[in-house]
């Protein structure tokens, strides 16, 4: 499966996904609630040090943070232009911290481990009718559907090419949707026929 996670294992990979999520959530809450430059500075330092301490390679880290970094730089420039460098530093420190920590988490955690952590986190929602097992099934079905959609698109495009319609978006989109909707109906029936109740 394609994912952002690095294949070379670091010690950060071995920290459980739930622990990393908790640290990220706590750090996010603290940096958005405090205005104290010493506390913010500490968190910025921690966020900058973490990828270095875990020996994460620069390339993948940069690729993940560059879009966010451009946005943060634009926002900071905007505040400086308004003559408010204090707010510029505050915004850059807050957003920079959470994005760096989130990238460190994403680069070192298997998607399946994250899904498991999410399922466990959703357990309290069982009382309002959301079953973690059902969430897990939907997530795995969705990841399986993505390559199926690409394969079907290629097949339909080839068929429409034979009719000279390969440039027509609707000649590809409509058969694709009707076929996948029918496939979804068949699949739902097959799952129901096996007496699936999501527990």
């Amino acid at each position: 499966m394609f994912e952002i996670r690095l294949s070379r294992i670091t010690w950060l990979h071995r920290v459980p996904a739930g622990v990393k999520l908790l640290v990220l959530a706590l750090a996010g809450a603290v940096v958005f609630l405090t205005d104290d430059p010493r506390v913010l500075g500490g968190f910025v330092g921690f966020a900058l040090a973490l990828p270095l301490l875990a020996w994460l390679p620069f390339g993948p880290v940069l690729r993940q943070i560059i879009p966010a970094a451009i946005l943060i730089a634009a926002l900071a420039t905007f505040h400086v232009a308004l003559g408010d460098p204090g707010t510029a530093a505050l915004v850059a420190a807050r957003l920079g911290t959470v994005i760096l920590l989130a990238v460190a988490l994403t680069l070192t955690t298997r998607a399946s481990a994250m899904v498991e952590a999410l399922e466990r986190g959703l357990t309290p929602l069982r009382f309002v009718g959301v079953s973690p097992a059902k969430v897990g099934l939907m997530l795995s079905l969705a990841t399986r559907f993505i390559p199926v959609l690409f394969a079907l698109t290629a097949e339909i495009r080839e068929a429409q090419k034979a009719r000279g319609l390969e440039g027509n978006v609707f000649a590809v989109a409509m058969p694709l949707l009707v076929r996948t909707l029918r496939m979804a109906d068949d699949l739902a029936e097959a799952i129901a026929a096996r007496a699936y109740d999501g527990e």
């Binding site: 499966m1 394609f2 994912e3 952002i4 999520l21 990220l24 996010g28 993940q64 879009p67 966010a68 946005l71 926002l75 905007f78 707010t87 505050l90 915004v91 957003l95 959470v98 994005i99 989130a102 990238v103 988490l105 994403t106 955690t109 298997r110 998607a111 994250m114 899904v115 999410l118 009718g129 059902k134 969430v135 099934l137 939907m138 997530l139 079905l141 969705a142 990841t143 399986r144 559907f145 993505i146 199926v148 959609l149 690409f150 698109t153 609707f170 989109a173 409509m174 949707l177 009707v178 996948t180 909707l181 029918r182 979804a184 109906d185 699949l187 739902a188 799952i191 129901a192 699936y196």
Partner: protein, 180 residues
């Protein structure tokens, strides 16, 4: 939640992901990259209905949070949610729900203008309604500046709303899902 709801939600989550994996279209004259991913929001609501649409977008966001690079341009991870663009991500769920809700209300006699109305209100209105104040607050730039920054995406989004509406009307004829 029936098995059918779950399978449809998974299918439209996958469709939204697949639309984001398509190469970005760079429109000359517009600096911002135009992606077709928001088509997924409108179709998720307009084809299978409000409840399944919202569920589909929630599943899609869960996959993104889990770290799959499914957002346009190969981005993903939990940072998307807590950064300045987090409101747009939540807006996708509300947007799909409202698009579907309006499509269900307008189902009898659904035509291109009506479907386009549902897509514009849900897929654009709701997404901006949550995305713009969030960006204004998190980045401390205020509502007006955040709205100005989002305006570049409006022409592209309007084109996508019309495209989505055409598909929704055609699917209603070929394989109707919403029953009235």
């Amino acid at each position: 939640m029936t098995v059918k709801d779950m399978v449809y939600a998974a299918l439209f989550a996958a469709l939204t992901a697949a639309l984001g994996l398509l190469p970005m279209v760079v429109v000359p004259g517009i600096t911002a990259p135009v992606t077709v991913q928001s088509l997924g929001v409108m179709l998720s609501g307009g084809v299978p209905g409000a409840k399944r649409g919202a569920l589909a977008q929630a599943v899609f966001m869960a996959l993104v949070v889990a770290g799959l690079p499914l957002l346009a341009g190969g981005r993903g991870g939990i940072g998307i949610f807590i950064g300045p663009t987090g409101g747009f991500a939540i807006g996708y769920v509300l947007g799909a729900f409202v698009t579907g809700w309006l499509t269900e209300r307008l189902w009898v006699g659904l035509n291109l203008p009506r479907a386009a109305l549902a897509c514009v209100v849900g897929g654009i209105g709701m997404v901006y309604l949550l995305g713009i104040p969030w960006m204004g607050a998190v980045a401390r730039i205020g509502l007006a500046k955040a709205a100005m920054g989002s305006l570049v995406f409006l022409p592209g989004d309007l084109v996508k709303a019309v495209l989505a509406a055409m598909v929704i009307v055609a699917v209603k004829k070929a394989y109707p899902i919403i029953k009235r």
